[in-house]
Every structure is written in structure tokens, then in C-alpha cells.
């Protein structure tokens, strides 16, 4: 009998898994369940909100992807999971039997426990319908408040600004982007936002959303100060969508715990993407790096294991690339983060290299025992080097011999080849092996 694969969630992780399953098993019965009608790219929502992309440009796979791959797609919500019977119950009453199940349910915005937060006019930014809801209000919106100075909050703020809305960002932490940048790098971006007309308030703790049930009027801070507004966007991080685990023995911590084969603690059930807490190469403990590339890779690796093609997951790490008002920034590694509850750890680095050769160009590299443990690159020229710095960091290569050059390093793999040759057991990919072989002749 043909094995039946069921995937819950049809976004980055779910679609990548479905594609991998089909590639390797032309006959498999594959069913994808999603409570969202279309499969679109969530990171593009801020481009959509800004009016830079239309709805039809949000697809990251062709709209007929599921049909073309012969994958059954059910538009419903999975509401119950019975591992002992190998079944999933759907909101439309259907009951699906599975041989292998993948949880790719992602994450949902976290709303602060603030009085009035459930009022109309308060939005997250995670789903297309969130963006559509905000856009529908735009004609009546002069002022907006964004709660949270993380990546999504600031992307929403920049997008609304581009739509001509006056935006204030209220941030609890001492600086913006505290999950992506250290304080001095973050200040560069706070300034860029201010210069572009977006007000940033740090150490601002909201206590209430003011207004009536139908219409919000503003946000009140603990200090009593009020920021009047017509719409509120909440960008205060996400929580993994683990509702389906309720009543099962699947082990979870913050997200669904998975091993290096992306298996949960219950047989035949796997997890991938923002819902999965998997190996983190830098932390040495399971962590959720809620990132698009991780979700896609985990989806593929989980699928390979569902196909019983034992594929070990190398692990993820924190990294990100964004642009605000035309200024690109790439940051990676833990050392970048201020130690604290957001995931930074004390003693993460013992040396920093920093250069600011011209306005708008900034590079900072964090080292520990001559190994790269984090970096921040700002501006067009420095970001080119991100890929090679990242691989040195991920493979924990001692960079003592090229330390003087690190701040000037371009995207020059050539520079690093000797290090790669010396550490060739850490560079197992076919492409690296080919290079090592080539320079060895």
C-alpha cells in the first residue's frame, strides 16, 4: 500500500516538505492541510503593506504548485491529533489517517497582555488577512502606533510610513532590534528611522489601548503618556502554534522538541519550521530560530526522514538580513545580542573588531578564542562578505591567521581556502570538497 503523508501547515516548511516527498516518491499519497487558502511568502507581507508588491506577487511557488505535484491540499484547520490511532481531525469534520505526519504549523503573533488589546484596529502582521485588515483601514488612518521594535514591528512601521501614515514605534527594551543588533548598531537604525520621519520611543511600556469597542483612540504608557492613533500593529514576537499537541504525549518545551532527524518524541510524527525546537549550532541546546531559510531546510530534512532516508539536520543559528529605508544590514550570531532574556548570553565574546570607513558603512565582528561568534554588516559593500563570514562562524574555524583582514574581507572565498583546506573535515559539502581537491593538485 502507498504510504500516506500528512502535513499540517502549507507555508515555508510545509511546502518544502511536500515538494521533497514528491521528488523522492512519485507514488506517495501526500496531503497538506492548511487553514490559509493560498501559500504565500510571509516575509513579503511588509512589501505588500508598503504597496511595493501586489497580492499576486506574494507567491513563492507557482499558484498551481500543489496540483502540478499531485499533492492533495485541504483548506481546513487541524483541530485534533490522536497519535494512538494515527489520525488527525479537521475543522470540516474530516478525519485523516496518516502513516507519517509533519507538524509545520509555524507560529502566531504574541499580543501583550494590555487592557483593550482585543479592540478592533489592533493587528498582528503574520497573515495575509492581517495586512489586508490594516490596508482596509488606511483611508481612515492618519496615525499608527507599532508595539515592538523587532524586525516585524519595524518592517510594519517603515511600510506604513511609505503609505503616508505618521508612525510611532513603542519599544519596551532599551534599544530597537534587540534580537538582531547590539546597542551601537541598533542606534544607527534608530537614527535612520527618525530621519525618515518614524518616531522611536525606547523603554516605553504600554499599559492600555484606549478607545471604544469599535474605534481605538490611542496607546497609554505606564507613565501616563498617551499616543493617539487610528491603528495599532503588534510586532512583539511570535509563539509557536502548538495547540495540536494538547492531550498528546509529544514532548515540548517552548516549541515542539525534535531530535536531529526532526522526529518528535512520538513515533511517525515530525516537526519543522517555526513550531519546531531543533538543534542550534551556536547554543548547543534546542532552540527556535524562527527564520525562513531554517523552515525551508527543516521541511526538506524532515521529509527525507519521513521517507526513511536518514538525513541528519546540521542545526540552525540566528541570522538575518533586512533593509530599512534602503540601508541593508545583515547580522548573525549570539554575541551580537545583549545578554538577557531575549537570548543573548554573557561571556559570548572576548574581542570585537569594528570599522566605520565611511558614513553608512559599518562592520563589527565579534570573536571568542579567535573564532567568529557574531557579526553585524551595514551598507552595500560590507554585506557582500556575509556568506563567507557566516560559514566560518558556523563551522567554528579558528581565524587567527586572517584576523587582520577580517574587517576588509570581501566575498572572497579564495582568502579562506587555506583555512578550509586545513579544516576540511568540517566542510563536507560536495562543493567544498571539490575546491579542496582542485587546489590540492
Amino acid at each position: 500500500m502507498k504510504p500516506r503523508y500528512v502535513i499540517i501547515g502549507a507555508s515555508a516548511a510545509g511546502s518544502s516538505a511536500a515538494e521533497t516527498l514528491r521528488r523522492h516518491d512519485p507514488n506517495a499519497q501526500i496531503t497538506v492541510v492548511s487553514d490559509e487558502k493560498i501559500t504565500y511568502s510571509k516575509p513579503l507581507l511588509s512589501y505588500y503593506l508598503a504597496g511595493k508588491l501586489g497580492e499576486e506577487q506574494l507567491f513563492f511557488r507557482s499558484p498551481d504548485f500543489y496540483e502540478r505535484y499531485g499533492i492533495e491540499k485541504i483548506h481546513a484547520r487541524a483541530v485534533g491529533l490522536r497519535p494512538e490511532k494515527s489520525t488527525v481531525e479537521l475543522s470540516n469534520g474530516q478525519k485523516l489517517h496518516y502513516d507519517k505526519l509533519l507538524l509545520a504549523t509555524g507560529a502566531a503573533p504574541r499580543f501583550p497582555k494590555v487592557e483593550g488589546i482585543q479592540r478592533d484596529g489592533v493587528f498582528g502582521l503574520r497573515k495575509l488577512e492581517d495586512a489586508q485588515g490594516i490596508l482596509a483601514r488606511l483611508p481612515k488612518t492618519k496615525r499608527a502606533v507599532v508595539l515592538g521594535g523587532g524586525l516585524v514591528g519595524l518592517k510594519a512601521a517603515a511600510a506604513l510610513k511609505e503609505r503616508g501614515v505618521a508612525v510611532t514605534v513603542l519599544i519596551d527594551s532599551p534599544h530597537a532590534l534587540s534580537q538582531m543588533l547590539d546597542e551601537s548598531s541598533a542606534r544607527i537604525f534608530e537614527k535612520i528611522f527618525e530621519q525618515n520621519g518614524v518616531a522611536i520611543r525606547t523603554r516605553a511600556k504600554p499599559v492600555a489601548v484606549l478607545g471604544t469597542k469599535e474605534k481605538i483612540e490611542g496607546v497609554q504608557l505606564a507613565s501616563g503618556e498617551v499616543f493617539p492613533c487610528d491603528v495599532i500593529v503588534v510586532g512583539k514576537g511570535v509563539d509557536p502554534s502548538v495547540e495540536l499537541l494538547e492531550g498528546t504525549r509529544i514532548r515540548r518545551d517552548y516549541g515542539v522538541l525534535v531530535d536531529d532527524y526532526l522526529r518528535t518524541s512520538v513515533e511517525n510524527i515530525y516537526a519543522a519550521g517555526d513550531v519546531a525546537q531543533a538543534r542550534d549550532v551556536l547554543r548547543g541546546e534546542p532552540w527556535i530560530n524562527a527564520l525562513w531559510p531554517c523552515a525551508v531546510e527543516q521541511g526538506r530534512v524532515a521529509a527525507l526522514n519521513m521517507l526513511e532516508k536518514k538525513a541528519a539536520y546540521r542545526g540552525s543559528m540566528r541570522m538575518n538580513s533586512v533593509q530599512f529605508f534602503g540601508v541593508p544590514v545583515i547580522s548573525a550570531g549570539l554575541a551580537v545580542l545583549t545578554p538577557g532574556p531575549l537570548g543573548g548570553r554573557p561571556g559570548e565574546h572576548d574581542e570585537t573588531l569594528e570599522s566605520r570607513p565611511a558614513p553608512g558603512i559599518y562592520r563589527k565582528i565579534f570573536l571568542k578564542d579567535d573564532t567568529i561568534v557574531g557579526f553585524v554588516l551595514v551598507g552595500d559593500v560590507p554585506i557582500e562578505a556575509a556568506g563567507v563570514l557566516r560559514i566560518l562562524m558556523e563551522r567554528r574555524v579558528n581565524v587567527a591567521s586572517i584576523k587582520e583582514e577580517l574587517l576588509e574581507l570581501g566575498p572572497d572565498l579564495g582568502r579562506l581556502l587555506p583555512l578550509i583546506v586545513e579544516n576540511k573535515e568540517r566542510f563536507v559539502e560536495r562543493e567544498f570538497q571539490e575546491l579542496v581537491h582542485t587546489v590540492g593538485v
Partner: protein, 173 residues
């Protein structure tokens, strides 16, 4: 699948491949016209000297022309939030119409093979030369005066590497 490789014994670091690549990716495909019209963009492969000083001596002063390896699976494809970066018959190709310039791919490519210039620019295996054969199939291979650049599978390239090169080439370096 056919990919591009560089024989470090033959490469003299003249950068003819870089120029040929930049010119190939202009509307005119002509060096002089593209310079005059300011069409010339960055090359999608780069001649690179290996290593810092102490190594250069140790490895014997190697230079090498490097570009996209068309990895499989490709980290840049995993990272792409628009689907612009994708696999096509084993090649890694960027659909620049879809690219929004988020540079997730730049961050993810371990080989520094993507240039962020409004769009993600990388080796596209010369789609406009699909009807050409032999060394003319790829602009960089055609331009390489020492035939250091090679198009083929890695197995085929390994056979090239296994052959001794003629004394003339050693002299050129």
C-alpha cells in the same frame, strides 16, 4: 550537470573572465558600447588569490576564478523569500523580475557568489549563449586565454586535473 571549474595550474589571474562575464550581462554584449553607455555591472565570477601571505607561499601562489557552484541543495534557494532563486535542471538561477533585494541569499551563500546590486546577481550559465557549443558556450570560458576555465561535470574536470600540464604553462605562471 555541466558546471564551470577553474584549473589553478593554468589560471594566471588576468581577469579576462570577469570582464567577459560583465559584458555578457549587458544589453549590447559589447565591451566598448557597454562602457560608453554605462551598462557594465559587476562580474558574476571573481578571480581570487588564495589566502593571506604565509599561505600564498605554502600553496604556491595560487589564483583561481570562482563563481557559483550550483549547489544541490542550494542554501541560497532555501533562503529566498520570493522564490526568485530557484533550481532549474540542476542549475541555480535567479529570476530577477521576482527578486526584491532582501539579500537573504547573500547571507546564505557560503561561497560569496552572489553580488547584491539592486537584484541578486550571480552566474546564470549564460542563457543567451544556449545555442553555442564548445568553449563559446560560456563567455568566461571563451575569454580565458590559458584555457584554465573548464565546462563539464566534476568527474570530467578531475580527469583534466589528473593530466600533467605542458611545460609552457608552468612558464606562464
Amino acid at each position: 550537470m555541466e558546471r564551470l571549474f577553474c584549473d589553478p595550474r593554468r589560471c594566471v589571474g588576468c581577469r579576462a573572465c570577469e570582464i567577459a562575464c560583465a559584458v555578457e550581462h549587458t544589453p549590447s554584449k559589447d565591451l566598448f558600447v557597454s562602457v560608453l553607455n554605462g551598462e557594465l555591472g559587476p562580474p558574476r565570477r571573481r578571480v581570487q588569490a588564495l589566502g593571506a601571505q604565509p599561505y600564498r607561499v605554502a600553496i604556491g601562489g595560487v589564483v583561481l576564478s570562482l563563481g557559483c557552484h550550483h549547489c544541490d541543495p542550494a542554501p541560497c534557494v532555501d533562503a529566498c523569500i520570493t522564490g526568485a532563486m530557484h533550481k532549474e535542471d540542476g542549475q541555480t538561477v535567479c529570476d530577477t523580475d521576482k527578486c526584491v533585494g532582501c539579500w537573504m541569499c547573500v547571507m546564505s551563500c557560503p561561497y560569496g557568489a552572489i553580488t547584491p546590486k539592486v537584484k541578486a546577481l550571480k552566474c546564470d550559465l549564460c542563457p543567451d549563449r544556449k545555442d553555442k557549443v564548445g568553449r563559446s558556450r560560456y563567455a568566461c570560458v571563451e575569454a580565458c586565454p590559458t584555457e584554465a576555465l573548464f565546462a563539464g561535470t566534476f568527474e570530467e574536470f578531475q580527469r583534466v586535473l589528473a593530466e600533467p600540464i605542458s611545460a609552457g604553462w608552468e612558464g606562464a605562471r
